[in-house]
């Protein structure tokens, strides 16, 4: 195919379930590419000399490389190429904000009226192809070094560190507080965006690399960091516990029955599968009229979950306007298609209870946008005498999360910033505590899956360097 012919292929859209049908079930919304669609889409890549997409990817996947292999129908080679850089391609293809990463810098999308190559869709395609054809990661594992690494948390950061260090020949154990590994991929991101079977499959792939996963282990309670280092013989520890502590609004009535943090609502629905109650034992209050406070990705996830649990109406309440909404555009679009309504420039003042102490509604006020704040976003200012009432029986607070102090409170020598995040070197993930690294949301605050993975990659390299400096484990060393 000539360059000109390549340029004339339109971006291939992925088939999606119809919004009015899919909003009743938890099945995945997008159905993925067929081989033919994938090959067409991959052919849109012009194979630049200096591919910026690789730079835009936090884990530097050789994108033109694996795309070319898809065109040539060398699918096993293509997935092998992707696995060189990430153990979680099916996850990343689905949840990465490609529009601000690899696809943002794609040359094809620079021309007016042209869209960038669907890199995320293609990554999803090749990972799904490998899974459905039982193709295993045959990445070469270095000879055993005898060095032990403890990874705290099995979210995107921890999983990346674990995979990278296992490949480098180290003996890696991941400690997870929940009964299943995956972190936010499991409890936070809903089934209809990322099937839990996929997360399980990719975590299983990690085990095949030799990584041990110990669930039900709360570091800071079940084990301490110092215990792992000094008593259990781990040479290094990586902390990737995320930012799991939910923010509340601190307005009256927040303790009413029917007011939830998005973390609780999504954990019940996703991890505990409350959408399948009473088949599964964990209950959830479905809600008829649901209000979501906040407008990030988590808010969209909560809103779309509520719809699927049978809500008649779901409203996103946000104090700024549409342009400032922090969610990915595709998520806003999906939510809107499915029937989520937006109550913009609106701020909650108080949760109002019924006589039985259940939520009956929210007293709100209208806002207008004033001067830009430090972050450059226009600050919302209340409009005088604009109070009004939103009738609802369920409210979900999705205004972000912060660092959970459970581990940091009991670990000596770990320096924190003013928000309680662990201070770590941005290049290496090294903390102020000897033999301890950290990365992902516990250092950044709430960020993205792929940023956590990128930091994991850097930390893994730094840990590997440190372990190599120790030399091969001597016989006289304590195990």
């Amino acid at each position: 195919m000539t360059k000109k012919e390549r340029r004339q292929i339109p971006r291939q859209l992925m088939t999606e379930r119809h919004p009015k049908q899919r909003n009743k079930y938890f099945d995945e919304v997008t159905l993925g590419y067929s081989l033919k669609e994938a090959q067409l889409e991959a052919a849109r890549c012009i194979q630049c000399k200096d591919p910026q997409c690789i730079v835009g990817c936090p884990v530097s996947i050789d994108i033109p490389g694996f795309l070319e292999m898809i065109i040539d129908h060398k699918l096993e080679d293509a997935i092998g190429k992707v696995w060189e850089s990430t153990a979680l391609p099916a996850v990343c293809g689905r949840v990465c904000p490609q529009e601000i990463q690899c696809e943002a810098v794609c040359v094809v999308g620079k021309k007016a009226g042209r869209e960038p190559v669907g890199i995320g869709n293609l990554e999803m395609f090749i990972a799904d192809w490998a899974r459905s054809n039982g193709v295993k990661n045959k990445v070469e594992i270095a000879p055993k070094t005898g060095r032990k690494v403890a990874v705290v948390g099995s979210g995107p950061a921890g999983v990346t560190v674990a995979g990278d260090l296992a490949i480098k020949g180290h003996d890696v154990t991941v400690f997870e507080a929940f009964h299943k590994a995956g972190g936010v991929l499991l409890y936070g991101i809903p089934e209809f965006r990322l099937s839990k079977d996929i997360v399980d499959y990719e975590i299983e792939g990690l085990r095949e690399l030799g990584v041990k996963i110990e669930c039900n282990s709360v570091i800071g309670r079940t084990y301490d960091i110092d215990e792992l280092l000094d008593e259990y013989g781990y040479d290094a520890v990586f902390i990737g516990v995320g930012a799991g502590l939910p923010n509340f609004l601190n307005i009256p009535g927040e303790d009413l029955t029917g007011v939830f943090s998005a973390n609780e609502y999504l954990t019940r629905a996703n991890l505990m599968k409350a959408f399948d109650f009473p088949h599964y034992d964990t209950p959830i209050i479905p809600g008829k009229k649901v209000a979501i406070l906040g407008a990030g990705n988590v808010a969209m996830d909560a809103a779309r979950t509520a719809l699927r649990l049978g809500a008649k109406s779901v409203k996103i309440i946000y104090r700024r306007s549409r342009e400032e909404m922090p969610s990915r555009h595709i998520e806003i679009h999906h939510a809107e298609e499915e029937g989520v309504e937006f109550e913009l420039l609106t701020s909650p003042l108080e949760f109002i209870g019924s006589s039985e102490g259940r939520l009956a509604g929210i007293s709100c006020e209208r806002m207008e946008l004033g001067e830009p704040d430090e972050g450059g976003r226009r600050r919302p200012v209340p409009i005088k005498d604009s109070q009004f009432f939103i009738d609802c029986d369920l409210a979900i607070i999705a205004i972000g999360t912060k660092a959970n102090p459970l581990l940091t409170n009991v670990t000596e020598g770990l320096e924190l910033n003013e928000w309680g995040n662990i201070k770590a070197d941005p290049k290496t993930g090294k903390t102020t505590k000897d033999r301890v690294w950290a990365g992902g949301d516990i250092t950044l605050g709430q960020a993205t899956v792929i940023l956590a993975m990128g930091m994991g990659r850097d930390a893994a390299n730094s840990i590997d360097e440190y372990l190599k400096s120790l030399g091969k484990k001597g016989k006289n060393e304590k195990n």
Binding site: A177, F178, H179, C215, N216, S217, V218, R221, T222, Y223, G244, L245, P246, F248, N250, E254, D255, L256, T257, G258, F260, S261, N263, E264, T267, R268, M272, K273, F277, P278, H279, Y280, D281, T282, P283, I284, I285, E356, G357, N404, P405, L406
Partner: protein, 272 residues
Amino acid sequence: MGTFKNHDTIILNEIEAPQIAKKALPGQFVILKANEMGERIPLTMADVDKKKGTITIIYMIVGKSTRLFSTLEVGEGFQDVVGPLGSPTHIEKRGTIVCVGGGTGTAVLHPITRGNFEAGNNVITILGARSRDYLILEEKMAAVSHEMKICTDDGSKGIHGFVTDALKEILDTQKVDEVIAIGPVPMMKFVSKLTKEYGVPTQVSLNPIMIDGTGMCGGCRVTIGGKTKFACVDGPEFDGHQVDYDNLINRLTAYRHEEERSEECMFEDENI
């Protein structure tokens, strides 16, 4: 794991969990999940045997999950046990301490009472229950108390009346430095009300609904002195005089209908 049944509806499980046993302190709890489809349930540890590497939980069958737990035979296991969770009880020598246990709350009270006894406090224990059949751990509690009173609602053993009656008598006749009350929420509420009149510091152990037990969801949030606290990390023990009990009672009933439905479905399954 071992199981024995000392009452029809009150069950004791001794669970092999060496790492939890190694770290557990009085007042801490575990979260258990029976099987793949199960929910996560918090239970405060009644005992720990560091040598054997076991922890003991005692609970009453009140719904599907506890019923499911109770069907586990010796040698079977819970699918998931996680802990120790929560902040341990602050134990020190204070003087005279009255430990008040209601129903299965006595199980939670036991390690705390022992801790206080071993710290050199003068320990007076009051145990209350619906009737003599619901009294548990009498001998174990007596072994770590200098004095013990028993109250039953129906008078089938000990004092015919509530624990607050027995407590009032003690407060009227001697100096008490602290009261620790663990049991049903109304019992803790009335004990706190009484001790407030006497100005005696009071600790209670709260039992709100929990999911993760590690502070990531706020499902267990309680109002303490007008401030929101997460019982799983800030508690489960709090100053009894600061707790908003009515709010706690309200939040505990949030899933009443779902809980009934879940148990009904369990019986339907058994009939198939």
